[in-house]
């Protein structure tokens, strides 16, 4: 069970959280301007890298806030978490 560092509450057990998929997938500013293929790309397609990646979590059984964290997908090591609007840790 991961120890997830909530940027508001500190480290907590994974079961207090819900996973939210890839971070920094912004909602398109003008969805009507997108082709069906471009919209489908936004809607369904996500990266699947080996190594560091940014993902969203929400502290559902705690402060109920969304945040991002950088995790290594091959070792599950969490490199750090950051609040919405902040830059990922180096």
């Amino acid at each position: 069970m991961l120890l997830v560092p909530c940027p508001w509450c500190g480290p907590r057990d994974e079961i207090e959280f819900r996973y939210g998929g890839q971070a920094h997938v912004a909602y398109p500013t003008d969805p009507d301007a997108l082709s069906d293929a471009q919209w489908a790309d936004f809607l369904f397609m996500r990266d699947n890298p080996r190594g560091a990646w940014s993902e969203r979590w929400v502290h559902t059984a705690g402060c109920r806030r969304w945040f991002n964290l950088v995790r290594d997908t091959s070792t599950y090591e969490i490199r750090g978490s950051y609040r919405i609007g902040e830059e990922p840790p180096a």
Binding site: L2, A26, P31
Partner: protein, 874 residues
């Protein structure tokens, strides 16, 4: 096999203990394991192999035991456990088990308590010994919280009496699994208590030691065949001596020390060492047979039928043969670091040629392996099995009855990965988790493939490391504690009224309220007619409720719902649909505008948490510029829905300061006031099609207002109704239930709710998806009504629809029934369904093929009652 007159650090000879095994009474001592007590009583066999039915006996002294499994029925119940792990208790009753356990027979008492505990430490040490105690002491001296878990009953096996201060020791405690970031699940078996520890540790040290490895040869499974180290432990811990005539078969020097110990205790020992060149061993003046191997064994198939070992056949370096009569054969092929936990969490291993074993390499940063588990072992010889012509009785995994021949067959079939061999043979998948067979199997594969020792390691290890009962894992979280049970403030009244409840999410809702002698159909028909012809009352408290407040609340709701909420007047109500980004219907409810900057939003009962989560997700992650805050208030409000032509009369009789006339208080508006003296918000919405008032009051007035409504309604024959009646009445009006009539693949257009979707108001969640090629294509399944042509036939929900009743199987399926009821108002059954291109098929006949018959039904617009909507104003 005898009990010596002295010795045995774990037994108390002043306390004899009576027990029963397979119906026979025996006696042991307090401190014995079932296995040691059986051996002390001269029981060498007693067990059968699961597939071939071969006689087997105790082979080990620990959790790696492959043969000796029992069901314990007294003084507590344990479905399957190794006899080596059962501590003797007075009156213990056990039966041998072959391969599989069974569920507790009816009438058997468990007599075991389960507990779950949580703890947080800086350091968790798994295993003891000097290697585990050193890091424990170091951390404790720094002031760290340190927990040491040891699977044995004390730390005596450590070979040291040193007990550093400041360390919490838990014995009889086995780490079942090790998980990310220093999380461990530990099973502590303390007497009749199974205690599961959830441990979060900053660092974890594995001092799990090692497991002796066997050598595979012909007929290597006869009772009396044991690991050499086990014989040593039975002597030291329990004063039980194997023999009197013992052969030790080995490929490593420490086995010669075991030979000395056994000779000292009075046995006659012959050591057979596969190595021809051995130095530095103490032979007690008895020449070992160097360079010899075991070609086979003889068993006692005679009168007692226990199949126990009687002799071993030896083969010398030049092919010479000898037979030695013996009653115990001790095998010591090597020493494997116990890396099951290490490998289960992703730790790497490599083959160490010097020790002829797998040792740890890289692992998670919080995890460290020490001592013999880390590969600090004496020199080993890569010797795995004795070559032979016939490998069909060279047993590799005794609990799966799999041999070298079975491994070879898997390889011949092209399964050259150890993981594939495991799956073809089932080696390593039994209760013992392949502790004695894992490394051997890998090395047999390496040798048969001629890839060299260590080319492939053993198959992956997974938790739990020891058999554990579901009851222990479930702990107290069963029955009423499995999941929260939510009840409304009026729940007790429903119980008193004889309601049958249904679970809606975690809520208990009255399903129907039968009177004496009524069937469910009778009760529902009576409740439906009461609402249609008089007045009924429903506890609608479970409806999800969210306050959406802030300067941008209307902008926000315009983006979350398909229709416009921003032009809703204060005091008015609008129905809203919520979509996923994929354009599919997610939830529905109504929004009430309580102020310019405030809305009161309702959701479905089961969607309440999801909708609030979704609001928060969008507000926090995409639209953090919007000044909106959301609060879930489901439990804060009790909701009493009064529905039917006499609803206005009832509410007047209850007493309210709100003008209930239709002009002053029209449909789809709400008013704040008092009802029965309680401050209330009354909403004129209708899920039944009838005149309806939803009276919402603070939760703690719910019971009071319910009682007042029941009392005031009595002269009008007010009838409490349940969710089934609610479902029938809404279906008669064609109102969908999200999650019943929809399934995550349904757009608002599929439901015929085009008028609820405002494509011109600007963007909203899901809007763009509604014009995707698949979402907007013709021929999608659409919501329709169905009227069975046999006016008594009730269509089963979930039944498939076909357009032609050809009788040929398979038939092209055109849709399915989503809701189906008997309607008292219509005097016939009816249904809602999703049907391909259904909106164009009204009045056409479709067919519902069932197992025993096919029902024809006419497609209709999904609106069966009061098509003009005249009844909603009373």
């Amino acid at each position: 096999m005898i009990r010596l007159h002295e010795g045995g650090i774990w037994i108390d000879r002043s306390r004899p203990v009576a027990f029963r095994f397979d119906g026979v009474e025996y006696e042991g001592f307090e401190g014995d394991t079932l296995a040691s007590a059986l051996l002390a009583n001269g029981v060498r066999g007693g067990f059968l192999s699961p597939i071939l039915g071969r006689p087997r006996g105790v082979m080990t002294a620990g959790p790696e035991e492959p043969n000796a499994y029992v069901e314990v029925s007294e003084p507590w119940f344990d479905p399957i456990v190794a006899a080596t792990m059962v501590e003797l208790a007075d009156g213990l009753v056990a039966e041998s088990r072959t391969g599989t356990g069974r569920l507790r027979p009816a009438g058997t008492a468990v007599n075991r308590r389960v507990e779950h505990r949580r703890t947080h430490v800086e350091l968790l040490v798994i295993g003891s010994g000097h290697d585990g105690l050193s890091p424990a002491e170091e951390a404790a001296s720094r002031g760290d919280r340190v927990l040491l878990v040891e699977r044995e009953r004390d730390l005596a096996g450590s070979g040291t009496t040193w007990r550093p201060d400041g360390v919490t020791y838990r014995t009889r405690a086995t780490a079942l699994g090790l998980y990310d970031d220093g999380y461990a699940v530990v099973l502590e078996r303390a007497g009749a208590v199974d205690r599961i520890w959830h441990v979060r540790a900053r660092d974890v040290v594995l001092a799990t030691g090692g497991i002796e490895r066997t050598i595979v040869f012909a007929d290597n499974d006869r009772p009396g065949t044991m690991l050499a180290n086990a014989a040593d432990e039975y002597l030291g811990r329990f004063g039980v001596l194997v023999g009197p005539h013992v052969v030790i078969f080995t490929a490593r020097s420490p086995a010669h020390t075991v030979a000395s110990t056994l000779r000292e205790a009075g046995t006659d020992v012959t050591v057979v060492d596969v190595r021809s060149d051995v130095t530095g061993i103490d032979t007690d003046g008895v020449e070992p047979l160097l360079g010899w191997t075991i070609a086979g064994t003889e068993g006692n198939g005679g009168t007692d039928g226990n199949g126990a070992l009687t002799a071993v056949h030896l083969e010398g370096p030049s092919g010479e043969r000898r037979t030695i009569e013996c009653d115990a054969l001790l095998v010591s092929g090597g020493w494997n670091p116990d890396l099951a936990l290490w490998r289960s969490i992703g730790g790497g291993t490599r083959f160490d040629a010097g020790g002829a074993c797998f040792v740890p390499t890289d692992g998670p940063p919080w995890l460290r392996v020490v001592g013999s588990a880390a590969g600090e072992v004496s020199a080993g010889t890569p010797y795995w099995f004795v070559p032979a012509e016939d490998y069909s009785r060279h047993f590799v995994d005794l609990q799966r009855d799999q041999t070298v021949a079975d491994v070879a067959a898997a390889l011949d079939a092209g399964l050259t990965s150890v993981e594939h061999v495991k799956r073809a043979t089932h080696i390593g998948t039994a209760v013992d988790q392949g502790r004695t067979s894992g490394v051997i199997t890998a090395e047999i594969v390496n040798q048969l493939l001629e890839t060299g020792p260590g080319a492939q390691g053993p198959s992956n290890a997974r938790p739990p490391s020891l058999p554990v009962s579901y009851a222990a894992l479930a702990g107290p979280y069963r029955g009423d504690l499995l999941d929260p049970v939510r009840t409304t403030p009026m729940h007790q009244r429903h119980v008193e009224a004889g309601a049958v409840f249904e679970n809606v999410g975690q809520w208990k809702r009255p399903w129907y309220l039968p009177r004496a002698g009524e069937s469910m159909d009778d009760a529902v028909a009576r409740e439906c007619l009461a609402v249609r012809n008089g007045v009924g009352v429903l506890d609608a408290t479970t409806l999800g409720k969210i306050e959406v407040v802030g300067a941008d609340a209307s902008v926000f709701l315009d983006r979350m719902y398909t229709n416009r909420m921003s032009n809703l007047g204060v005091g008015s109500i609008r129905y809203g649909l919520m979509l996923g980004l994929d354009g599919m219907v997610l939830d529905d409810g109504v929004a009430m505008r309580v102020a310019e900057d405030g809305f009161f939003v309702t959701t479905t009962t089961t969607g309440a948490a999801m909708v609030l989560d979704r609001f928060e997700e969008w507000l926090q992650t995409e639209w953090s510029d919007l000044r909106v805050s959301c609060t879930g208030v489901t439990e804060q409000w009790a909701d009493v829905a009064i529905a039917g032509p006499r609803a206005r009369d009832v509410l007047s009789a209850v007493g309210t300061d709100v003008d209930l006339s239709n002009d002053a208080f029209p449909f789809m508006t709400f008013r704040d006031g008092t009802v029965a003296g309680a401050s209330a918000r009354i909403a004129r919405v209708s899920f039944t099609g009838e005149l309806s008032y939803e009276v919402m009051v603070p939760g703690w007035y719910g019971l009071h207002v319910w009682d007042a409504v029941i009392a005031a309604g009595e002269p009008f024959g007010i009838t409490p109704y349940g969710t089934e009646t609610m479902h029938v009445l809404r279906a008669e009006k064609g109102f969908v239930i999200v999650g019943q009539d929809t399934d995550g693949t349904v757009t608002p257009f599929d439901l015929g709710m085009d008028r609820i979707v405002n494509m011109s108001k600007g963007d909203f969640v899901g809007r763009r998806s509604l014009s995707r090629s698949d979402t907007s294509r013709p021929g999608r399944k659409q919501l329709v009504g169905l009227l069975p042509e046999d006016r008594s036939a009730l269509l089963p929900e979930g039944a498939q629809l076909v357009l032609e009743d050809t009788g040929a199987i398979p038939m092209p399926m055109a849709g399915h029934v989503t809701s189906s009821y008997r309607s008292a108002a219509l005097g016939r059954p009816f249904a809602l369904a999703m049907l391909e291109n259904g909106h164009a098929l009204y009045e056409r006949t479709v067919f519902v093929p069932l197992l025993d018959r096919t029902i024809a039904a006419t497609v209709a617009e999904p609106l069966f009652y009061d098509r003009e909507g005249r009844r909603r104003d009373g």
